[in-house]
């Protein structure tokens, strides 16, 4: 690949909606090329001399570490904003000023912020590429890309029958993933408690083969079961939460009728949605999924910085 700036396909990565199907497949192909480097089997220096800044205004472990691992595996350096520095920002400096300052120090900024649209706003104030690592309930495009990569690697993307289960109302991971999946020839089943259904206005905007279902009715058919956490704070009282969450737990018994080739995914961290007895079954792919975050982020960093 050429190192010329003129070859740069992407300027920032703010939302999965700005990527076409071809763009997505292009990034997944690049990620596959980086997988051996991500595993430490090959050494790469393609981003040597480049610096990434992690600006996380909300806590994150795996996303931040995975970006750090991706950058370092490609020979680049990483600087992090510490908790103390974030609190000093919270005391008064605007995000716009923070971005203007930091974009003079580094070559790329990874931003997680509690406000929706923060990454887009940051991109308008930055001299260097911004990667959205989650903005409130908004977008988290690198999670979506690694989800798609996992489906492509471990199952099949085209023609996939996937069930999305759990909190479909508030989960930004699910919202972004559904929009991306509709670009492919997929059949999407929505499995959730009534109060955590996918919002109607969201469904109205989608085109594709999407329907609500009970897991027991479709478990024999699906290729992918994507499980998300049901958060306690979404429920008016704890008893209601216990009643609902209990019926959305995957155990080895739930999977007795599943296809041999079924894969189970979860964006992690999990609480109790997937029993630990499932971890040793052939279906479990959530730890592989977490690893795939590294080659995907390597591909994104490379494309933004080459």
């Amino acid at each position: 690949m050429s190192a010329s700036k003129n070859d740069r396909k992407f300027k920032h990565l703010i939302s999965i909606d700005e990527l076409s199907k071809d763009d997505i497949l292009y990034i997944l192909d690049r990620a596959a090329e980086f997988e051996d480097v991500a595993k430490g089997k090959k050494v790469s220096k393609v981003l040597e001399g480049r610096i990434l800044a992690n600006l996380f205004f909300e806590p994150s472990t795996r996303t931040r570490m995975s970006f750090e691992a991706a950058m370092k595996r490609l020979g680049g350096c990483v600087i992090n904003m510490t908790d103390t520095e974030i609190s000093s920002v919270a005391k008064g400096e605007s995000l716009a000023d923070t971005i203007r300052v930091v974009s003079n120090y580094v070559d790329v900024i990874v931003l997680r912020h509690p406000l929706e649209g923060a990454a887009k706003f940051a991109s308008e104030n930055s001299k260097v590429p911004i990667i959205n690592a989650g903005d409130g309930a908004g977008q988290h495009p690198t999670q979506t890309l690694l989800d798609l990569y996992t489906i492509q690697k471990e199952s099949r993307l085209d023609g996939c029958r996937i069930a999305l289960m759990g909190d479909l109302k508030y989960s930004r991971t699910v919202h972004s993933l559904i929009r991306a999946l509709t670009l492919f020839r997929t059949k999407i089943y929505l499995v959730s408690p009534p109060m955590l259904r996918l919002p109607d206005d969201f469904i109205d905007d989608l085109s594709g083969d999407i329907q609500e279902a009970e897991l027991e009715d479709i478990i024999e058919e699906i290729d992918v079961l994507y499980v998300t956490r049901i958060q306690k704070e979404r429920f008016p009282d704890e008893e209601e939460y216990r009643k609902v969450s209990g019926s959305y737990i995957i155990t080895s018994k739930t999977l007795e009728r599943a296809r041999e080739s079924l894969i189970i995914m979860h964006p992690l961290p999990r609480v109790n949605e997937i029993g630990t007895d499932v971890d040793r079954l052939r279906f479990a792919r959530y730890f592989e999924q977490a690893f795939y975050g590294v080659p995907i982020r390597m591909a994104i960093l490379f494309e933004l910085l080459k």
Binding site: L95, A96, H113, L115, E116, K120, F121, D201
Partner: protein, 161 residues
Amino acid sequence: MKDKDCFKQDRKHLVISKIRSGTVIDHIPPGMALLVLKILGISPGSKEAVSMAMNVPSSKMGKKDIVKVEGKFISDEELNRISLIAPEATINLVEDFEITRKFAVELPEVVEKIISCPNQNCISNSKEPINSRFKIFVVGKKVTAKCDYCGKKITNLEEYI
């Protein structure tokens, strides 16, 4: 008195007198005239003289509002913002009591600083140095605005202007 010069009423009609030069905005949906002035940035502190009629009979719309702004030629870009709440509005530009240009408003593709995002968690509602920005399109027959920052869509635009 000036008021009497502006508004003449006989038994059948309420008539707003002609303006010498400026902009006439006709075919505004009834009740929206004040919002039109707000969109155009005309407030009690502005220097322009404004005459306005609300809920007047209209063969085309049943009832309508009319706004006349004396001494101000409003740009097409500003006028097109009116289409957000008055898609059928027509504009007459007047010089020396004569209409020099007549046209219908067109939906702008993007509007800034006009609509407030209803999503309180949107960055455009924060203390950042930021202007709201909405992309405008039509779904079915409804004018829809989508926040360029958080993606929130609204159709009841008049509530957020």
